[in-house]
Symmetry: D2
Amino acid sequence: MVGGGEGSFIGAIHRMAAALDGEIELVAGCFSSDPERGRRAGAQLGLAASRTYPHYETMLETEAGLAADQRMQFVAIVTPNHLHFPIAEAALRRGFHVLCDKPAALNLEETLALKQQVDSAGGLFGLTHTYAAYPLVRQARAMVTAGELGGVRRVTVSYPQGWLADAGDTCASPQAQWRTDPQKSGESGCFGDIGTHAHHLAEHITGVDITELCADLTTYVDGRVLDDDGAVLFRMANGARGTLTASQICAGEGNDLQISVYCDLGSLAWRQETPNALVLKRRGQPAQVLKAGVNCDYLHRDARAYCRTPAGHPEGYIEAFANIYRDFARAIKHGSTAIYPSFASIDEGVRGMLFVRAVLESSRNHSTWVRLGDLVT
Amino acid sequence: MVGGGEGSFIGAIHRMAAALDGEIELVAGCFSSDPERGRRAGAQLGLAASRTYPHYETMLETEAGLAADQRMQFVAIVTPNHLHFPIAEAALRRGFHVLCDKPAALNLEETLALKQQVDSAGGLFGLTHTYAAYPLVRQARAMVTAGELGGVRRVTVSYPQGWLADAGDTCASPQAQWRTDPQKSGESGCFGDIGTHAHHLAEHITGVDITELCADLTTYVDGRVLDDDGAVLFRMANGARGTLTASQICAGEGNDLQISVYCDLGSLAWRQETPNALVLKRRGQPAQVLKAGVNCDYLHRDARAYCRTPAGHPEGYIEAFANIYRDFARAIKHGSTAIYPSFASIDEGVRGMLFVRAVLESSRNHSTWVRLGDLVT
Amino acid sequence: MVGGGEGSFIGAIHRMAAALDGEIELVAGCFSSDPERGRRAGAQLGLAASRTYPHYETMLETEAGLAADQRMQFVAIVTPNHLHFPIAEAALRRGFHVLCDKPAALNLEETLALKQQVDSAGGLFGLTHTYAAYPLVRQARAMVTAGELGGVRRVTVSYPQGWLADAGDTCASPQAQWRTDPQKSGESGCFGDIGTHAHHLAEHITGVDITELCADLTTYVDGRVLDDDGAVLFRMANGARGTLTASQICAGEGNDLQISVYCDLGSLAWRQETPNALVLKRRGQPAQVLKAGVNCDYLHRDARAYCRTPAGHPEGYIEAFANIYRDFARAIKHGSTAIYPSFASIDEGVRGMLFVRAVLESSRNHSTWVRLGDLVT
Amino acid sequence: MVGGGEGSFIGAIHRMAAALDGEIELVAGCFSSDPERGRRAGAQLGLAASRTYPHYETMLETEAGLAADQRMQFVAIVTPNHLHFPIAEAALRRGFHVLCDKPAALNLEETLALKQQVDSAGGLFGLTHTYAAYPLVRQARAMVTAGELGGVRRVTVSYPQGWLADAGDTCASPQAQWRTDPQKSGESGCFGDIGTHAHHLAEHITGVDITELCADLTTYVDGRVLDDDGAVLFRMANGARGTLTASQICAGEGNDLQISVYCDLGSLAWRQETPNALVLKRRGQPAQVLKAGVNCDYLHRDARAYCRTPAGHPEGYIEAFANIYRDFARAIKHGSTAIYPSFASIDEGVRGMLFVRAVLESSRNHSTWVRLGDLVT
């Protein structure tokens, strides 16, 4: 693991997720850019001092030199965004598999470069778009892509958070500091951080690409450089339309990601804060509330495979993350990502950065329509 | 009453709403453009044959000739849109007050003409933007306009319906027929019908005008002329931003109008299908669920005045409509609309048609931003 | 109407309910035991002074003397409980139909006497067990009694209110005063007032009688004579079991009546505060949320007939009450109660008082089982 | 670990829970009474063959003989109920700490014997009443026991499940088989299995003992010996009253444990299937929805300590279990259970078995009141 030392939120989540199913062991780490803090973190985690490294390069080099059955098998990157690319690139170069927190890199260019590396290197690469790993998101995707509700007509996805609502919030945590810093976060703030989740969810559930969009970004809080709020109109490859809203200045909100997909024959609605319910409304019928559970025979096989408990025993965010880790471990074991769909590929990472670039470009140009396909030539 | 005969949905709602509080009596009507059907409707409603009129002009003329304590006091217009203007204009000219189903008229020009008539005539004019008459919408407005949550930052309003989802639906009811017919419905379908409700709610709760917008309308169902779906990005006079989605082709949906208003210090969310709950999230505090009820001392006076029952005894759509009728009757009685806020004014009617015009213009011009103020000179 | 003057909650509800559908007209009333207050109420309601009576006997006598097409057709009784019997008895004797707020009378003996009168008199008698008149309660009854979910196994019904939580509440309203006064309320407080609603709902939805019960009543608030809280275990004629809880001292609660009926093949759950949703869980299937609406083809005919609006336009407590009034008016018109099921019969009234008597007897005897059938011989 | 091999539901949950926080390592196990299956399970879990034992006695003996820094530190018992006592007793005797799935033992007598052993042995003993380990249950307990809502008046706890609804279900899983077998499950079926959870929750949240009860148990499904459904009226030490319903034959239900605690000044309601919301209704105020989250400053310290994520990132059943494991590990580390409240003590185990015994005795005696205190002398 690289990153995830003291004060990191996501590092601890990754570690719990990796540990949950007993298939993955944390064997080495470089937890902080400050070697002393990194050492402390390693010790707290019970790691041997010899495998708590002061720098990721040292870690990659040393581990690569260990015997095959001794060395770490993959690297989890949980650093701020600006380090995703150099670390991932180096790890892949050394022959390690890489599971990286999203976004894939600092910007579109880096992500395309990373894609080249992924395509040429032997290692697997995965991106943690966690929300796609919830069982009922998998169910939604299975239903919509199989056409069970007919074609997609409209998608409404909204992601309000409130943790950056005030100027004071900007310095309240290391998280907040680097996320609002273009050097570390990238060219977008809110849209790079959570807009990409909303975008991924929309394309992942429908199986249809967003082809063009028209965006209006804002920075509400004084002193901030990057966007902290915005909304997007979009059109999809099949003619569907949609809206995407993402905001980090909605005071009082937690993490209220929600999506509705309206199709020819009915709609699906899912809300991250109550993830074990998927509301299905078919035309002329009572609404149905699908639940997650190993015993829910009505779920698609792909959805049930991501449940650990029977219906009524709620699973949550850490389990969704754990689905990704388990899939990634199994993909490594089988040398293929083919049947392990809960983590995102580098191609999905590229799409995410295309989305961010298009949003920024449209917003800068009076919300003119921008075609995502025009951004890469 | 003009309109509201057999097959009319909204006519019966208006009548129940008018009757509910025992302050209004239906004394005359012209219920159909087909005199025979109109007569039948009048008889069913227990109206004297002499006061069931074959044409609205006859009604206005005859009633105007009656003694002051005999004649009807106001006209409720519940016809298709294209008749709103001529009937309202004629009624006002004859000295009657007018309560008209929304929208005010077929288009912006007619509405402006109607405004002139309203401004010069002695009679009162009211528009039934029903959703604004729910007690908890009044509460939301009271809180936001008083600044209890600080300034408005973002508004998300969404209005999905499914009753026009298929080509077959277009002819399934008289309702559907005239609503999809530009001659009777106006220049917009979905946005004239329900987009105007969403727009009204956004401005009404916040007390802030939408100043410019950028829209993307669609017609999903083959053979239709008017829009049946669309979405809008908007900006408000105070710098707030928002999205508005309206659709009548969301198969499986009923009448799921919902609005979230995110402010500096917290947010409010209201959903029409569960109208007796208003969710208030203040930063750093537990969410609160405000309820409607005459005994809810925590509600603003203006909100409680629109409740008839104690909390826990649900009121609904008809009661919201009845609030409008009761307010209109009382405004007539007191000769002033000043303290009767549950019905919309002709100015709000004009704003609604400005909104529709701007949406159409933007959508036709590749979703360029259109300033509402530029549409009237 | 008898009762329902100033300070009465339920009188106004009855009047709105009666007016809603335009089929009933308030023509005469005796609104208060204080003639002056009664006169004032009549004037406010726009009633002719000649038909605002100082005493119900005068009203019955005078109205009975009017021509058939002039006199009132039925009497609505909305007084405190102790007057139900004498007024109903007198009205039936004079040949009037009677629609009476529940409970039927002050106690079991009076109710049985009233039943004799009803059985021998020509007039119709109806009891307003309002909750049974909600469309989705009718749906639940239709489904369960048709055996769609197999046999009933368990019923859980709970009715917490908080309006009598404190000693101070006892005097806070005329309502609270007479409800806690055995002379006016009867031998039970909470169970006579709302326990009877819960009991009626349980038997009405299932179509199965409660045959025996075991109860534990309490009086939490100092200075009160009657029960203000309690719970019951019960057994039903088909072998099903259940619990019933009713309380008026649950501080913070409104009117949270809720019932779950668990059957061989699935369960139904309904909650009065969100009355337009009925949750159906069938074994091995996603939960379904049935909605009320004239356009909900999946509802039983008997349920749809009690809707006025399409799904998504919420109806509530007043509409449920109005269903009773409309049914009662139609029953009078057709001279039969056979197909008008939304109001309760005198037999259901007797069952309610049997229930109360059994609850009191059991509670007094260390919660021994009491068979309802043993209480009448 | 003892038990938890193939086909075990709860064994896998315990292992995930133990692994989640990275503070506990599975080092030895005896996973099945069939040595071959046990070996297979150990291998699948990556355990050394030398520490996968064919019998728990062998395990205890062998491990006890290992060096202190090598041997296992505590034993997790996840077998059917009849093995809890012998294994726990043996483990404690050998000086191991014991964390045992509930109930503590097969019956009251065994549990009292176990208590003697716990009291005399040096080891710690913990019982996994999982639901008490949810953060918002801890919050509820903190609020109620601190008297923030005044005294407790009424408790309604209900636990409907449907997995044993039919005769066919009895043999559908090893789980179902032993749970319906008195030799392995104990003298009660449903009440031993889930009634004890409901009982524990009621006493744990309120901090008040149930002193007497009156019960009505049933066996709905033919061929079953033990109860599969029942309900209880109870009284508490402070004069509060309540009802407890538990059932495993409610077809269509999952694991819908829910509790409402009504106090002098307001009520709290929690539902296990949506565990991250706690509804607080204070008299005269809007309902509040408290959420779980490390960042929810309004939560009691004891509640926040059991959160791993910020509000809006749902945690669930496995995390609740993990709270218990983490607390138990820390209690071992600090040699004291004093500040680790998420697991239950042997005294709580005794109370659970007292409850079951009282329920059975009351139900057998026509639901007479049974005082729990009279069962031990």
